[in-house]
Each structure stands twice: as structure tokens, then as C-alpha cells.
């Protein structure tokens, strides 16, 4: 289990527990359930790289304690 921090810099900062082999889509669902936003509206980025839904966190080399940028479409 890893914990990933998502911050939208507008007042929302969440710590999400997940697995490394979750896809970004799954991760978005978790985030959505935690912040109450539809998962389709969530965009996750890490310095200009927008993460795609069908790729796992491990493949993006997202590890425990990393923070991602949270945007809304």
C-alpha cells in the first residue's frame, strides 16, 4: 500500500491510500470519492505530464508519499 498526496492548490489536499498497481483511472475514482468530484472531471498531472487512465501508478513510477497536481476539467 502506498499513500499519494494530491493537491489542487486551491484548498484541497488529500492523502489517498492505494496500491501501486492501481490504474490512474482507479486512483481517480478514489480521489473522486474522497473529494466529492466526478472522476471524469479530474485531471492528474506531474509537472506538465498528464497521466492517462489506463496506465498504472507503478508504470508512472508513483511511489509512496509522492504528490501529484490535481486539476479539474
Amino acid at each position: 500500500m502506498i499513500e499519494v498526496i494530491c493537491n489542487d492548490r486551491l484548498g484541497k489536499k488529500i492523502r489517498v491510500k492505494c496500491l501501486e498497481d492501481d490504474t490512474i483511472g482507479d486512483f481517480k475514482k478514489l480521489v473522486a470519492s474522497q473529494i466529492g468530484t466526478a472522476p471524469e472531471k479530474i485531471i492528474l498531472k506531474k509537472s506538465y505530464t498528464t497521466f492517462k487512465d489506463h496506465i498504472t501508478l507503478a508504470d508512472y513510477e508513483i511511489h509512496n508519499g509522492m504528490s501529484l497536481e490535481l486539476y479539474y476539467a
Binding site: M1, I5, N7, R9, G11, K12, K13, I14, R15, V16, K17, C18, L19, D22, D26, K29, L30, S33, Q34, I35
Partner: protein, 659 residues
């Protein structure tokens, strides 16, 4: 602003995950406990909570679904054994691969080394083939072994060698034409059969070349080389545009002039005992010759041919005198006339020269330097001969006399003719001019005296004087001009000078008018003058009126103050009243002015003047304006021209009075 991190517990997360249909996150710490708990709960049947889905259960579920079970930290050993199986497998595979490759490489390297070794051995064998038998050192070793053996052997050798020597000597004695059989001679038969003794030697060759020996003559070879060089030199100088083609249009090689002649092109023949077989590779001619006499040409090698030609040695060092054929001397005629003699002499020399030149082509055909040398030598000899002739004093004198007579042909009737050339004319002129000058000097003096007496205008006399001095300086005589001057002095000409001293203003004006310095007033001028006068009158009247009105105004103000008209009023009221009055007055004045301006006809004339005060014409004015506008004047040349023009104008104006 510090963000408040919102976090939810693992249980919550797992709950939500399950809701979403995601795999719950395994709880490591609680895994065993959970499982125990869950088992207990299972046992007790108290499992309502979703999050209480045990790891084992989930794993089972996952396995049933075909998913990877979540690793449980407790039984890692089991997991590793199952999961880490493929990884070492791949490692092993890699290792195996590497080993296989390593083996293969090793094998190939070994093969390579063996192959090399074999090759080396082969090469060595190849090399040693030439060194068959015993080497010198080995022989020595054998000998050193035993002194007796060596002595024996040496004795044997001596015994054997004596008859050998005799044989050789016999052979040497018997070396005849027979031995020359089959030898090749590297020259054409023609070259050798010139009738000279030719010494043939074995041609230099590489030792390792195997082939027949060849006999060559060093002298002949060098001769051929020299000829070739000359040929090359001739060819080199010329440049044709078609370098790569021959005269016949055949293609030549690149820079063919530097190519050495091929060996194969050389003519040769082979020697038999008595017969020489002529062989030839190159020339067509030789082949033809062969065809004509199919039998072999017979040349005796034994016979020593005597020299045929008388020409012994046609080398370059032969003195030129030997080939020069001297003309038999002509019997000299009695020298009656020296001139003819000299002519004859000349002709003689020339003839000789010509004849000698005629000989040249026979002697030397192709070498220009030699020709030149020969010619120069002949010339020198000719000169010497001439000198020798002239050296006798009598002849010298004669020659000199001849020359003098030839150079200046003096006609017989020397004094009778009149010769006119530059010199005579010049001399004559000098004499004449001197005479004329003297005469003139006298005249001038007289005239001067006369003029002083008559006291004509000093200016005139001065100018005349200047003119006279000029004449004097020039040394040229012009009596006609002098005469004219005299006439001018005596009779007042068309442009006679009017005398100003005794006449009045009117006459002066008239004179100026006649000169064009003052124009006569025409109608326009009169009109203009009238207008000007009116204008002046108007201006005067205006000034008067203004003065009067001012006076009136002052008087009125004085009157007002005295009457105490404004005393009762306040300051403001007083000012207002004054203003009103002023306005009224100004209105009246304006009306009056309008009336008066009815007959105001100003003369308007726009004149443009340059920096010298000159009135500029339209063009000039425009140019000036343009230059000022653009801030750029005309160039140096134009400016100078303009300045010169202005200067000329000024001069003309200033000097026009008396010229």
C-alpha cells in the same frame, strides 16, 4: 497558507474501494490479526463489516477471478517461492545464454589461432624451400668436429680442383661464336651494321629476373637516349589545344611525352653461330623487310669490318672552321674609285656571309644553339677581317674621306643658290628685327616727347606706354598696330571720351543714359511713380489723422476729468464707462479708417535678395528657397561659378563708367 491535508483511514479507503469495485488495500499490520479476527468472527458469524474482508479471502477471491493475490507479509517465503520463480529463471536463462555465447566465442577464437598457426607454418615451409641443404654454419660445424676429417677433405678438394682449373681454362680458350648462340642483342641490325666496331655487353638486369641474357652496346644505347631526349624537348615546347590527341587524331595517354619507351617496342635480333635471326616486335618496316627476304640475313661476326666513311667524328666539339668552306679569294681589281671599292668590299662580305649561311643546314639541322654559335663566330671573323683591312693608315683615311663625302653631299654650285630653311629664316629675322627695333625706338621717343607737349589724358598716355614696353619685351615688331595707336591719339575715334570736368549734371545724366547705366523712364515707370506718390500722400494723411485723433482724445479726457463726470461713480462703474467709451471711439475710428482705406492702393512688389544684396530672378529665388528648405546648397563647382558671375557683374558695374 498551509494546506490542510485531508486524509481518510485505511478502513474507509478500503470500504470505498470495495464500493467502487476496486481491490481493497491490504492492511499489513493487521493482516494476521484481521485474519485471526475474521476467522474468529467467521467462527462467531459476526462479519457485517465490509472492511473485514480478510486478506486470505480477498486473495482467494482474486485467484478465483484470475487476479494476482495480494502479497501477505506473513508468509512471504511461500510467496517468494511461487512468485520469484520466473525471475531467477530468466537469470538462469541469461546465464545460460551468456555461457553459450562465451563458449562459441572461445571456440571461434581457438579456431582462428589454429588457422593462423597453420598458415604460419605453411609460410615458413615455403620460405625454407629455398634454403634447402646445409647452410654454411652447418658445414662448418661438421668440419670443426674433427681435424683429421677436415684435413682429409681439404686434401681431396685440392686434388679435385686442379683438373677443374684446367677445364675452365680450356673452356675459356674455346669461347667462340658458338657460345653466343641464342643470345639476344637489343639493337636493330641497322644500328650495328653501320660499319663501326660495337662493343656489346650483357645488359643490366635484376638478379631475380629469369629470362634470356641480352647484349647491348652502351654507346649505342646512350646515343639512342640522347636522340630521344632531343625528340622529347622538341615535343615539349609545343602546345596544341588538342593535347590528348595526336596529329592523326589518335588518342594518346595522359602526359605521354614523359612516358618511357616500352621495352617491347625495341628492336632486337638474336645471334646464331653464323647466322643472325632478325626479330622485331615494333616496326612495320622491319617486318616488311623480313617478308621480302624470308631467308635470314647473314652477318659474319668474325670479320672486323674496316671503317667505311671518311667522317671520323661528327661530335659537337669539332671546330667550326673545318666545315667552313672558304671561298677562293677574288682577284682584287685596281681600286680606281674608293667608293666602288668599299661597295665591292661590302658586297664581298655579304656574299661570303650568305654562302656561309647556306652551308648551315647541311651541317647542323636540328640544334639551334649550334647554328647560332656558328653564325656568330662567322660574323666575328668577318668583322676581324674588315678591321684588318681598315687598319692600314691609307685605307683608314680613305674610308673616312668616303664617309664624309657620303654623309654631307655638298652641291657643286655652293654660293649661287638661295637656301631657305629654319635657320636662315631665323637669322634673317634676327637681323631685321634689330634694325626695326632701332628705328622704332627713335619713333617712340619722338612720340613721347610730342605727347608730353600736347598733354593728352594721362591715362591714355600711360596705357600706351605700357603697350610699348610690352612690345619691347616681346622683341616683336608690329608697326601697323603702332600706327593705329598713333591715329587714335591724333583723331578722336567713335568712342571718344567725353570730358566731365566742365559740364553740368544734365550732361552727366545724359551720358550715363547713353551708356545704359541709367534707364530712361518709360510709361510704366511713370505710372509707378504716380502710385508711389499717392501712397506717400495717403501715408502722410494717415499719420496726420492719427495724431489729430490722439490729441482730441486727450482733450476729451481732460475735459471729462475737469467736469467731474465720473466723480460720483465708483471705481468699477468708472472703469466700465471708460471701456464703453473706448469701444465707441474705436468703432468710430474703424469706420473712418474703412472710409479712408478706400483709396489705399499699396504697391506690392516682392523681391528676393541674396546674401550680397543682389536681386534674384525667379529661377535664382526658387533655387535659393529650395536650398534653404533642404538645408543643402549646391556643390563647390556651382558655387564658384556663381560667385565668379557675381564678381564679374560687380566689376562690370564698377568699371563700366570709363571702358
Amino acid at each position: 497558507m498551509a494546506d490542510i491535508e485531508s486524509d481518510i483511514s485505511l478502513e474507509e479507503t478500503n470500504r470505498r474501494r470495495i464500493e467502487m469495485g476496486l481491490r481493497p488495500i491490504p492492511v499489513p499490520d493487521d493482516a494476521h490479526m484481521n485474519s485471526k479476527l475474521s476467522s474468529k468472527e467467521d467462527a462467531t458469524g459476526l462479519s457485517q463489516d465490509e472492511s473485514s474482508l480478510s486478506l486470505e479471502e480477498t486473495n482467494r477471491l482474486r485467484i478465483s477471478l484470475g487476479l494476482r493475490p495480494i502479497p501477505v507479509p506473513g508468509d512471504e517465503g511461500m510467496g517468494t517461492s511461487s512468485t520469484s520463480a520466473p525471475a531467477p529463471d530468466s537469470d538462469e536463462l541469461a546465464l545460460a545464454n551468456w555461457r553459450a555465447k562465451y563458449e562459441a566465442e572461445k571456440k571461434s577464437a581457438e579456431l582462428e589461432t589454429t588457422r593462423k598457426r597453420i598458415q604460419k607454418a605453411k609460410e615458413r615451409i615455403e620460405r625454407l624451400k629455398y634454403l634447402d641443404g646445409r647452410s654454411l654454419g652447418e658445414q662448418d660445424e661438421d668440419n670443426v668436429d674433427d681435424v683429421r676429417k677436415w684435413v682429409k677433405r681439404s686434401k681431396k678438394k685440392v686434388k679435385i680442383s686442379i683438373p677443374d682449373d684446367n677445364d675452365e681454362q680450356e673452356e675459356m680458350r674455346q669461347y667462340t661464336a658458338e657460345d653466343l648462340k641464342g643470345l639476344k642483342v637489343g639493337h636493330s641490325l641497322e644500328d650495328i651494321m653501320d660499319g663501326e666496331d660495337v662493343i656489346l655487353t650483357l645488359k643490366d638486369r635484376n638478379v631475380l629476373d629469369d629470362g634470356d641474357d641480352e647484349l647491348v652496346s652502351l654507346a649505342l644505347e646512350e646515343h639512342a637516349k640522347a636522340a630521344q631526349n632531343i625528340e622529347n624537348r622538341k615535343r615539349k615546347g609545343r602546345y596544341t589545344g588538342f593535347e590528348d590527341e595526336d596529329a592523326l587524331g589518335e588518342k594518346k595517354g595522359i602526359l605521354s611525352r614523359y612516358d618511357e619507351d616500352d621495352e617491347s617496342n625495341k628492336e632486337f635480333f638474336t645471334l646464331d653461330s653464323e647466322v643472325i635471326s632478325v626479330g622485331d616486335v615494333g616496326s612495320e618496316k622491319q617486318k616488311k623487310l623480313d617478308a621480302m627476304n624470308p631467308g635470314k640475313i647473314k652477318v659474319s661476326l668474325e670479320v672486323d669490318l674496316p671503317p667505311i666513311g671518311i667522317i671520323q667524328d661528327s661530335s659537337d666539339y669539332m671546330p667550326a672552321e673545318q666545315i667552313k668552306i672558304k671561298k677562293p679569294k677574288k682577284s682584287k681589281k685596281s681600286k680606281n674609285s674608293r667608293k666602288r671599292a668599299s661597295e665591292e668590299d661590302d658586297a664581298d662580305g655579304r656574299n661570303q656571309d650568305a654562302e656561309m649561311v647556306d652551308y648551315q643546314p647541311d651541317v647542323i639541322e636540328d640544334d639551334d644553339e649550334d647554328l647560332q654559335a656558328l653564325l656568330s663566330k662567322q660574323r666575328r671573323s668577318l668583322q676581324k677581317k674588315r678591321k684588318a683591312q681598315f687598319l692600314t693608315p691609307e685605307m683608314l683615311a680613305q674610308v673616312i674621306r668616303d664617309q664624309s663625302t657620303e654623309d654631307t653631299p655638298v652641291p657643286e654650285g655652293d654660293e649661287s643658290g638661295l637656301v631657305i630653311d629654319d635657320m636662315t629664316e631665323f637669322v634673317g629675322n634676327v637681323g631685321n628685327s634689330i634694325a626695326a627695333e632701332e628705328e622704332e625706338e627713335r619713333e617712340r621717343k619722338e612720340r613721347l616727347a610730342n605727347s608730353r607737349r600736347s598733354a593728352t589724358t594721362p591715362v591714355k598716355s600711360e596705357s600706351e606706354d605700357a603697350a610699348m614696353t610690352n612690345h619691347h619685351e616681346e622683341g616683336q615688331v608690329k608697326p601697323e598696330t603702332e600706327d593705329v595707336d598713333d591715329e587714335e591719339v591724333s583723331t578722336t575715334g567713335l568712342e571718344g571720351e567725353p570730358v566731365l570736368s566742365s559740364i553740368g549734371m544734365g550732361a552727366t545724366l545724359s551720358m550715363l543714359r547713353s551708356r545704359g547705366l541709367i534707364k530712361t523712364p518709360d510709361e510704366q515707370d511713370v505710372e509707378r511713380q504716380r502710385i508711389q506718390r499717392e501712397n506717400m500722400k495717403w501715408r502722410v494723411s494717415m499719420a496726420q489723422h492719427k495724431a489729430r485723433s490722439e490729441l482730441e482724445l486727450r482733450a476729451q479726457r481732460e475735459a471729462d476729468r475737469k467736469s467731474g463726470k465720473y466723480d460720483k461713480l465708483t471705481q468699477k462703474e468708472r472703469e466700465e464707462a471708460a471701456q464703453r467709451e473706448n469701444q465707441m471711439r474705436q468703432l468710430g475710428e474703424a469706420r473712418e479708417a474703412q472710409k479712408r482705406f478706400k483709396d489705399y492702393k499699396p504697391e506690392i512688389k516682392i523681391e528676393y535678395k541674396d546674401e550680397f544684396g543682389r536681386v534674384m530672378g525667379q529661377k535664382e529665388a526658387f533655387k535659393h528657397l529650395s536650398h534653404q528648405f533642404h538645408g543643402k546648397g549646391s556643390g563647390k563647382g556651382k558655387t564658384e561659378k556663381r560667385l565668379k558671375k557675381i564678381e564679374d557683374e560687380r566689376k562690370k558695374e564698377s568699371s563700366s563708367l570709363f571702358s
